[in-house]
């Protein structure tokens, strides 16, 4: 038992190290080509990678995924697997635009998006904790409800699956720093990007340094231990799931306001980001910083993929280029091996039951 877990830690750590090394070497090779032979194909790829706009679109793509992943970490660490993150993103994306439209303020819209997502997360929490529903089924229900409700509401209020445009946040630009090549993108970004970085830091601190974070972890590992220590497990889990609603709400609202519009065709504008968030936090081993890094890997590849399509660097069909991020995720997951789930994740807990 003891050895197994130590082995798991070791093997997943070496898997992560391997990926980091491989990524670094690839980057070094590309950089070599970029500096020595900028006209060659790898050279061109490097300059695509190293451009400021690649970083800024990476960050933009990361915002909803990272925030939803942070929410997923809190919920799952507390023992409630929330696979409804996708639904929370959808509902908050629509509510944010609708709110901004109705109130005339983007920030009020942002807030309304968060409230909508938190309410839906609250319903999910009640169903899972109070009524002992299966968490996976309830999570899918959250997704399906949002997937139906948001475009329907859009149809009612805007006469189509797409809402009208409400405008976007102004970027916050730090003078001088914004002019640094590549990394300047960090200082010339939407407020949502800064919120994301703050949320990652705050989440890490809450999980690892506060009593609440400790209770969340205990609730997910051994709820009975927490219960006998005199802490109400249900309350901790409610708080964690509601927090996942708040964080996902920030993600969905930021996603929509970044474009200025909610588009509700097919899988909606969220388009699987909530599910990628789950992969991101699993790959990041429930660590907020890990979730951020794995998301930027995915979002970065997505940004590169988009740019490669337009840059016309390599003679490969676009549809193949589009698969790059997904193939990368599969490879990465295969190499990382298994992540250790919290012991009691997915299990209902009732105080006083033997």
């Amino acid at each position: 038992m003891t050895n197994d877990s130590a082995m798991d830690r070791l093997s997943s750590a070496s898997g992560r190290l391997f990926i980091a090394t491989a990524a670094f070497l690839t980057l070094a090779v590309l950089a070599g080509f970029g500096l020595l032979a900028p006209a060659s194909t790898p050279g061109q790829i490097f300059w695509v990678l190293a451009s400021k706009s690649t970083l800024s679109s990476t960050l933009r793509l990361s915002v909803p995924i990272v925030l939803a992943a942070l929410g997923g970490i809190f919920a799952e660490k507390s023992g409630i697997i929330n696979i409804g993150l996708e639904g929370l993103l959808i509902i908050s994306a629509f509510a944010a635009i609708f709110g901004a439209d109705a109130t005339g303020s983007l920030w009020l819209g942002f807030l309304i998006g968060i409230v909508a997502s938190t309410l839906l997360a609250g319903v999910f929490a009640v169903v899972c904790i109070e009524f002992r529903a299966d968490q996976i089924i309830a999570g899918l229900a959250v997704w399906l409800i949002a997937l139906g409700l948001a475009p329907f509401a859009s149809q009612v209020f805007y006469g189509g699956p797409n809402t009208s445009n409400v405008g976007t946040f102004d970027t916050i630009t730090v003078p001088t720093l914004a002019d640094i090549p590549f990394f300047g993108a960090l200082f010339d970004a939407s407020p949502a990007v800064y919120i994301m970085f703050l949320a990652v830091a705050a989440s890490w601190y809450v999980l690892n340094r506060t009593t609440f974070g400790r209770w969340v972890r205990a609730a997910g590992e051994n709820p009975k231990a927490l219960d006998t220590a005199g802490v109400d497990v249900s309350r901790v889990r409610y708080a964690a799931v509601l927090l996942s609603g708040v964080l996902s709400g920030m993600g969905g609202a930021a996603l929509a306001i970044n474009i200025g519009q909610f588009t509700g065709n097919g899988p909606t504008m969220v388009n699987g980001k909530g599910f990628i968030a789950i992969v991101a936090y699993l790959f990041g081993n429930y660590n907020p910083v890990g979730a951020l890094l794995s998301t930027t890997l995915f979002a970065g590849l997505d940004a590169v993929q988009l740019r490669l399509q337009t840059a016309d660097v390599i003679a490969v069909p676009d549809s193949l280029v589009q698969t790059i991020p997904f193939v990368a995720v599969i490879v990465v997951l295969a190499l990382v091996g298994k992540t250790r789930l919290p012991e009691a994740a997915g299990e209902h807990y009732e105080s006083g039951e033997e």
Binding site: N3, S5, R217, A218, E221, T228, A229, V231
Partner: protein, 518 residues
């Protein structure tokens, strides 16, 4: 002397059951009090009442001379009553300190943040005051069971407990760890703490306790000082009738060899030779006992013989047929019955009903099938026969295995395995966690198999058990057989030395092939 705990006329009724019936219990401050009784006698229920997990139907709870009304464990903790459950309430990936302070963390910065420096300091002080050897920064999953138990005790002390309730504290410990625990209990009572510990083991109650209260069928049978009572008297109080602790039986008349193990080598997961060249033979009509400190290759030896693990070298022969590489199924069909050491892990499927559990291992047998499907009527009858014959409680074939107490689970496993009418039985700790009445019964069954000319390989860390049941006793140390001795003539000191890998003088050795047997 001052009374730390006084339970007055406690009655606890559950729908259809009276778990405690007008029980009085008085415990003096600074003493160790054992609560002794068979499984299901109401010991744990009574303590759960004291700990606030249950509210008594009638009667009052007095702690330190004051009548208390505990609505939850929290209330009990506030009054200085702490309980260490049989299954530890610890969070494995967290550290010792995090576990001890869980729910009562020292805080800083407006109560937002855990003060981990302060936590660690408090835990270290506490651990030193009571002479506990615990590393505050070790992770629970990396420390042994004995240490985990000490962490549980520290957890209760950290919350200010004066009265500590321990539920079956020795069930999961090795003999050495039990010794350590008893030392810890002495240290605690020296410092004025009061200990109540629940047990069904006579020897432990007599060794560790100052006073013993015996419960039977929910009633207090009597409270006696541990110094002036005999094992036989205590056993009679527990069971309600005279119990034969020593078996009376005829000498063995071993027949031909049933199990033959030659030069067996088994490597464990880490590539260490856990079994390092063991040869042994078990003949029809005899019990070969294996004694040794846990972890000296017993598990691997059993797994190789029963087909759960393939040996790296050597041969295993049943009835003159080489079965070294046979599968479990082939071995079962050859007449092997196996009582695993961990009934919950290997003996039963906890979420299955007893009907389904009774089928395990026999699912290929023709008796249990009808037209290519499972014959559930036959299977149900089979489970009900086991339940009746082995007195499994509750007597309900539809009960899930997990709803039974440990002793009843064990009785069901033993019953299922013996019902195969085996030629060879491998019994690994067959009475672990079983009460005295059931233990006597299981021992009788093992004896009956021996009389019927079956071969039995018995592995147990309980020396009384292997000594009284075996015809020959092999002592293992670091994967090798140190010696095979006559269990009737060997002394406990000699056994202890052999188990430590030493070779004491004048050991009544019996040759491995059984020559020179009495």
């Amino acid at each position: 002397m001052e009374q730390a705990v006084h339970l007055d006329g406690i009655t606890k009724r559950f729908p259809g059951v009276v778990a405690n019936d007008d029980v009085d219990l008085a415990v003096e401050k600074g003493t160790v009090h054992a609560l002794l009784g068979e499984n299901g006698a109401g010991k744990t229920t009574l303590m759960n009442v004291l700990y606030g997990l249950y509210q008594p139907t009638e009667g009052t709870v007095n702690v330190h001379g004051k009548t208390q009304q505990f609505d939850s464990p929290r209330d009990a903790i506030d009054e200085g009553v702490g309980m260490i459950h049989q299954h530890f309430m610890l969070v494995d990936p967290m550290t010792v300190t995090e576990n001890i302070t869980l729910g009562n963390e020292p805080r800083k910065w407006l109560g937002l943040t855990v003060d981990s420096e302060q936590s660690r300091k408090q835990v270290r002080e506490l651990s030193e005051r009571y002479g506990f050897d615990v590393d505050p920064d070790a992770r629970i999953e990396d420390v042994g069971v004995g240490v985990q138990q000490r962490v549980e005790i520290l957890k209760a002390l950290y919350r200010g407990a004066d009265v500590l309730i321990l539920d079956e504290p020795t069930a999961v410990l090795t003999p050495q760890e039990v010794e350590d625990l008893f030392r810890v209990l002495d240290e605690l009572t020296d410092q004025g703490k009061t200990i109540i510990f629940i047990t069904h083991k006579l020897g432990e109650a007599m060794e560790a306790a100052d006073e013993i209260t015996v419960l039977r069928e929910g009633k207090n049978v009597g409270t006696v000082p541990a110094d002036d009572i005999t094992r036989e008297e205590l056993a009679e109080m527990m069971v309600g009738r005279e119990v034969l602790l020593d078996l009376d039986r005829d000498p063995a008349e071993p027949g031909r060899s049933i199990l033959d193990v030659e030069d067996l080598v088994v490597e464990d997961d880490r590539g260490v030779r856990a079994v390092d060249g063991i040869s042994l033979e078990v003949r029809a009509g005899e019990v070969l006992g294996i004694a040794g400190v846990d972890g000296n290759g017993q598990s691997e030896l059993v797994e190789a013989i029963t087909g759960l693990q393939m040996p790296d070298e050597g041969t295993i022969t049943y009835d003159d047929v080489d079965r070294t590489t046979d599968s479990r199924r082939e071995r079962i069909e050859a007449g092997l019955a196996y009582i695993p050491e961990d009934r919950q892990e290997r003996g039963l499927v906890m979420d299955f009903e007893l009907v389904e559990n009774g089928l395990l291992g026999s699912q290929h047998a023709a008796d249990y099938t009808s037209k290519g499907r499972i014959d559930w009527n036959y299977t149900r009858d089979h489970a009900e026969e086991i339940i009746e014959e082995y007195d499994v409680r509750p007597p309900d074939a539809n009960a899930h295995a997990k709803s039974l107490s440990g002793g009843n689970q064990q009785k069901f496993v033993v019953g299922r395995e013996f019902a195969r009418d085996p030629r060879l039985v491998v019994a690994s700790h067959p009475t672990r966690g079983v009460d005295v009445g059931s233990m006597e019964f299981i021992h009788d069954q093992i004896n009956a198999l021996r009389e019927a000319g079956r071969a039995v390989l018995l592995i147990s860390s309980n020396l009384d058990e292997v000594q009284s049941l075996s015809d020959r006793l092999a002592v293992v140390y670091e994967g090798e057989i140190v010696d095979i001795v006559d269990p009737e003539r060997v002394t406990e000191e000699q056994l202890g030395l052999l188990m430590a890998g030493q070779q004491p003088d004048a050991v009544p050795t019996i040759a491995a092939d059984g020559e020179g047997h009495r």
